[in-house]
Amino acid sequence: MTSSVKRRRRIFAATVYAILIVGAAIFCFPIFMLLSRSLMTTVESTVVPAKFFPSVLQWHNYVDIFKAVGTLEGTSYWWLWFKNTAVLEVMVIAGTVLSSVWVAYGFTRIKFPGRNFVFAVVMGTMMIPSTVTMIPLYTIFSDLNWLNTLHPLIWPMWCGGGAVNIFLVVQFLRTLPRELNESARIDGANEFKIFFRIVLPAAVPILTAVGVGAFVGVWNDLVNPLLYLNTKDMWTLALGVSTLNVNVGEIGGIPYVFAACTIFSLPPIVLFTFAQKYFIESVVMSGIKG
């Protein structure tokens, strides 16, 4: 009896494993090909039919790609793109994290007229497609003389970091016990003191998730850099990498483009490995992206 149950269990496990292994192989095959083709010679990458493996691993592709995009007054565009992306990351993560918890504090910890109305309006903005505001935002930033600067990508994120992030932090703050506030108030602390001394430290877990989401959002964003950053020296890494494919010939072939894509993909993957919990949280809470 028990042995038959055990056997059935083992068969079940084996079946699930078999299906998962086949599935994972199919899902990861393109990523394997990304690595494989990034290590081929240019000639190898154009062989018909396509090859699965390089005959000799061309590690130097990963060095050569850094010389392939050209320079501006002696500075590689890679460096400029990296610098722009780094500045954006720092400014956007700081803005999103700080302003979302600041705003969420107002929505949850202080009671005053109009609060729920503003919250409803903010949540309502989730339904506004970004395509509707795209053109007027462009003209507004153009009027502000912000085109071809990083400002249009930074400052909107200092206004709460978007409805989804506000919602996430609000939900989290609601789970914190109210007594925290009350006892602090009795001790004579004002709201700002309570915010910085009590609520901000307590919100670190959710803010980590928000920060991770903001990092990936900036790293992967193509649309906004495409809209606002015109000259090559102002581009971000994502925008720079997206153009490599267009000038494959100039770059020196697919292996170089793939080497760049691999390097570019590493930071989010590394972050995922180390901050899986927060990463998953930010995905589950904000739903499927289009």
């Binding site: 994972a24 899902f27 107002g106 507004i140 997206s242 739903g287």
Partner: protein, 297 residues
């Protein structure tokens, strides 16, 4: 008594100090653009010369633009097929990945890997792997005797390829299912066991009904997001060949940014907005558990 109103006033002022960033953001980056966009949609505008009033002309003219009708259809086809299909497939994937087996976390990570890959990199990669001549998939398909396909470069298969490509990212909906499964209390499963329900019965009568609300919400939000699909279209197909993968968002970008026909593009954007609003209203009418609920405490 006077003290009380003073405290109240102080609290209100403090409250608005905390809400100030979001109020500024709403005014500057949401309300003002909405008003402007609505106004532009009735004008001819190129961001250089002042807008010229043309009434409803844009809303009429957009239908005669090349690929516009096609784009509307494409947008619907993409959103209403890829999202439900992704949720459906990822349901079974999540069931497998919910099994209590050794190393299951590694598998979850592997299925999630394509989602983490930046869209720019994954777009470039997929374009190459599905290339007619140099693509590895055509080598595999030829070896299997299925013949050679043009995938993204043929009018017949481009949209289908884009939808299949979107399934590669089903790791994110898998996570949502997994979270949904976890939210179902163990007591339900215990009761099902006591009642003598087998695994399939439990799945259909406990797991599915219990996770439906989350999933329905995600289905609608997913469709709303997918109606705005832009990046894969831009990176992989540029809307081609012959407009077969052009979407509304791609049209709005092309007309507004490339051709500088900002009035026409704004009209297209409002057309999309109305569709999305209708969908959203539908959600609120059919469900009371959406986000607003939490706003009152």
């Amino acid at each position: 008594m006077r003290d009380k109103t003073k405290v109240k006033l102080k609290r209100t002022v403090t409250g608005y100090v905390f809400l100030l960033p979001v109020i500024i953001g709403l005014a500057l980056f949401t309300v003002l653009p909405l008003v402007k966009s609505f106004y532009y949609s009735f004008t001819e505008y190129n961001n250089i010369t002042p807008p010229i009033n043309v009434g409803l002309q844009n809303y009429k003219d957009m239908w005669s633009q090349m690929f516009f009708t096609k784009s509307v259809i494409n947008t619907f086809v993409y959103a209403f097929i890829s999202v439900p299909l992704g949720l459906f497939c990822s349901f079974f994937l999540a069931l497998g990945l919910n099994a209590k087996l050794k190393g299951i976390k590694v598998f979850r990570a592997l299925f999630y890997l394509p989602v983490i890959l930046p869209a720019v990199a994954s777009g470039i990669l997929i374009t190459d792997l599905f290339s007619y001549t140099y693509g590895i998939y055509n080598r595999i398909f030829m070896a299997l005797g299925l013949g050679r396909f043009a995938f993204f470069t043929s009018e017949k298969t481009a949209m289908l390829s884009l939808i299949v490509y979107s399934l590669w990212g089903m790791g994110s909906s898998m996570l949502i299912w997994l979270a949904g499964f976890k939210s179902v209390s163990d007591t339900y499963y215990e009761v099902a066991k006591i009642e003598g329900g087998g695994p399939v019965w439990t799945l259909l009568h406990v797991t599915v009904p219990m996770t439906t609300p989350t999933i329905f919400y995600n289905l609608i939000m997913g469709i709303i997001n997918s109606l705005q699909v832009f990046t894969p279209v831009y990176v992989i197909t540029s809307g081609g060949p012959n407009g077969s993968t052009s979407t509304l968002a791609y049209m709005i970008y092309t007309f507004g940014m490339s051709y500088r026909k900002m009035g026409l593009a704004s009209a297209m954007a409002w057309f999309l907005f109305v569709i999305i609003m209708a969908l959203t209203l539908f959600v609120y009418k059919t469900n009371k558990w959406v986000y607003y609920e939490g706003g009152k405490d």
